[in-house]
């Protein structure tokens, strides 16, 4: 009896969490007519209430083909998202990874202060830094360019924090042994730090990918030109006219994130857990 109750609670929540994905998946393979017949009441064109089906009555690839073949804007925005996400991730590796290593393995004057600063920065919502980011981007003449979103993103300190937690977990004895063998600091970082902290680095990358892919506030504030927009900002624009197509677009837009999620879920969990207990 207790087992049944436990199972039903756990699976009910699971169903709740995943239902939007299933819903969008079904919608992707429906024809426009079918979508409209279900949601007519919402569009104020029919009686009763909106409904949905888990499996389309007339499955079709028309919408997905239309999206991939006939909508150049969609591709443009998709590419923008890829570009922004890739640039931020690469930048976080170049700048954030050494910083995490330095904070985790060395003690220098002011380290404690820098660490605190990074933690505080990581916790600030966009609204707090919005004006300051605007001021500096304006000063650097970067507003309304992709860099306005990419550069502040690179120096977001969240990924530093995740990598820091994992670098701290490497036993000092290994590092000490390498030092006795005459390895330089850079060598230790590249030969020991990166391989031994790999799971932390991947965790940070997975988390920041998911964050960047659904980024909205920054591009909304700093990008006026629509051709620079990432997908997350563009999607709402097409919800008006064609319901079938926008369902399909919503689904395709979340696919890369879901792939990264599935490929890196073990790391994702480790990354999240590392902020609760030391990794």
């Amino acid at each position: 009896m207790k087992k049944i109750l436990q199972n039903s609670i756990l699976y009910l929540f699971a169903l709740l969490e995943i239902s939007p994905l299933i819903f969008l998946f079904a919608g992707t393979f429906m024809g426009n007519q079918e979508v409209i017949s279900y949601i007519a009441p919402v569009l104020k064109k029919g009686d009763g209430y909106a409904s949905w089906r888990l499996f389309p009555v007339f499955p079709t690839l028309k919408n997905i083909a239309g999206l991939l073949l006939d909508s150049p804007e969609f591709f443009q925005m998709f590419w923008n998202s890829v570009k922004i996400t890739a640039a931020i991730s690469a930048g976080q590796l170049i700048f954030g990874m050494p910083a995490a290593w330095g904070l985790a393995r060395y003690s220098f004057v002011g380290k404690r202060l820098v660490y605190m600063l990074y933690i505080i920065m990581m916790m600030m919502p966009f609204q707090v830094t919005m004006l300051s980011e605007y001021l500096v981007l304006d000063w650097l003449k970067l507003l309304d360019t992709s860099f306005a979103v990419i550069l502040p993103g690179i120096f977001s300190t969240f990924s530093v924090f995740i990598m820091y937690r994992f670098f701290c977990g490497i036993p000092e004895s290994i590092i000490e042994a390498a030092r006795i063998d005459g390895a330089g600091e850079l060598q230790i970082f590249f030969r020991l730090g990166i391989p031994l902290g790999a799971s932390g680095i991947i965790s940070a990358m997975v988390l920041s990918f998911l964050e960047c892919w659904s980024m909205m506030e920054q591009p909304m504030t700093f990008l006026k030109t629509k051709s620079l927009w990432p997908l997350s900002l563009f999607l709402p624009e097409i919800t008006g006219g064609n319901a079938g197509l926008s369902l399909c677009a919503s689904f395709v837009a979340l696919l890369p994130a879901v792939f990264i999620f599935l490929a890196g879920q073990e790391y994702l969990e480790q990354g999240i857990a590392s902020s609760a207990v030391k990794g």
Partner: protein, 279 residues
């Protein structure tokens, strides 16, 4: 500073420069501006702060944001802890369940907006289901119930994240304590209240703070569903900042950012203290 620790500082330096250029220095400028007049360069003292506090939109939004946090935070914590405890005892499908709970992290807000509209519309699916039980539905998005939709979105998005955090904490409680209690005849409820709850306190603090800070992200859903001027009950601080930004009220924005920053720094310092205690 020894040679080795100087190397440590060099690892951190590039990232630190970036953080200073994009966040710290401009934020200093924001603090300065918060004491300046909007037009001209006169010193305004605390005028801007007074203006913010007497601003109706700000007070409404601050109240709403507080109310939102007060409702959704306890709800999320209780639900996620409950799920985490059950999940830990679950034998079959444990990992699949956990991954399913995390899936919303990979779903961009933009992708679910259309869905939310279909579900929560006056003639949407939710009302369809309710009408089945002969209860009259509401126009969820355009009445006070919009607040509930926002709470739901927040729980949906963050449940898995919190479950993973809790599980990390629960793993830290030695199994032997439970065994000893069971030998003494303690039931599941007793174990939960006398062993699990007291032992999970240090992690609980982290979970509270991270959930609090994540609560700033529901703005995405609120914005996408309802735009810049949503239903009064879901007019949040983020909307105020956005609207000030588009009006270019730099004076109010500066004072508002500083205030919000102070509140959050206090929270972060509390979090830091709880982490330190853990060591």
């Amino acid at each position: 500073m020894g040679k080795r620790n100087r190397a440590g500082f060099c690892f951190v330096l590039p990232s630190l420069v970036g953080v200073f250029v994009f966040y710290i220095i401009p934020f200093g400028d924001v603090i300065r501006r918060s004491f300046m007049q909007a037009v001209g360069n006169g010193f305004a003292g605390l005028d801007n702060y007074r203006q913010v506090f007497s601003n109706q939109a700000f007070c409404l939004a601050a109240g709403n944001t507080l109310c939102f946090v007060a409702v959704c935070l306890p709800l999320l914590l209780v639900l996620s802890l409950g799920v985490a405890v059950l999940l830990l005892e679950q034998v079959k499908g444990k990992n699949i369940l956990k991954s399913t709970y995390l899936i919303p992290l990979a779903i961009p807000a933009a992708s679910v907006v259309l869905l939310w509209n279909i579900v929560f519309d006056q003639y949407g699916m939710l009302n369809g289901i309710i009408s089945f039980f002969h209860i009259r539905g509401k126009d969820w998005m355009n009445s006070g119930a919009a607040f509930g939709v926002l709470v739901f979105s927040y729980i949906w998005k963050n449940l898995g994240y919190d479950v993973v955090l809790w599980i990390a904490g629960l793993h830290g409680i030695p199994e032997s304590i439970y065994e000893a209690a069971r030998v003494d005849g303690a039931g599941a409820l007793k174990c939960f209240f006398y062993i699990t709850l007291p032992n999970i306190r240090p992690v609980a603090f982290t979970v509270v703070i991270l959930s609090f800070l994540n609560s700033f992200k529901v703005f995405r859903e609120a914005y996408l569903v309802a735009g810049n001027y949503p239903q009064e009950q879901i007019y949040l601080l983020q909307h105020v900042f956005n609207n000030w930004f588009s009006e270019l009220s730099v004076d109010k924005m500066a004072a508002g950012s500083v205030l919000l920053c102070i509140v959050l720094v206090v929270f972060v310092l509390l979090l830091q203290r709880s982490w330190d205690k853990e060591d």
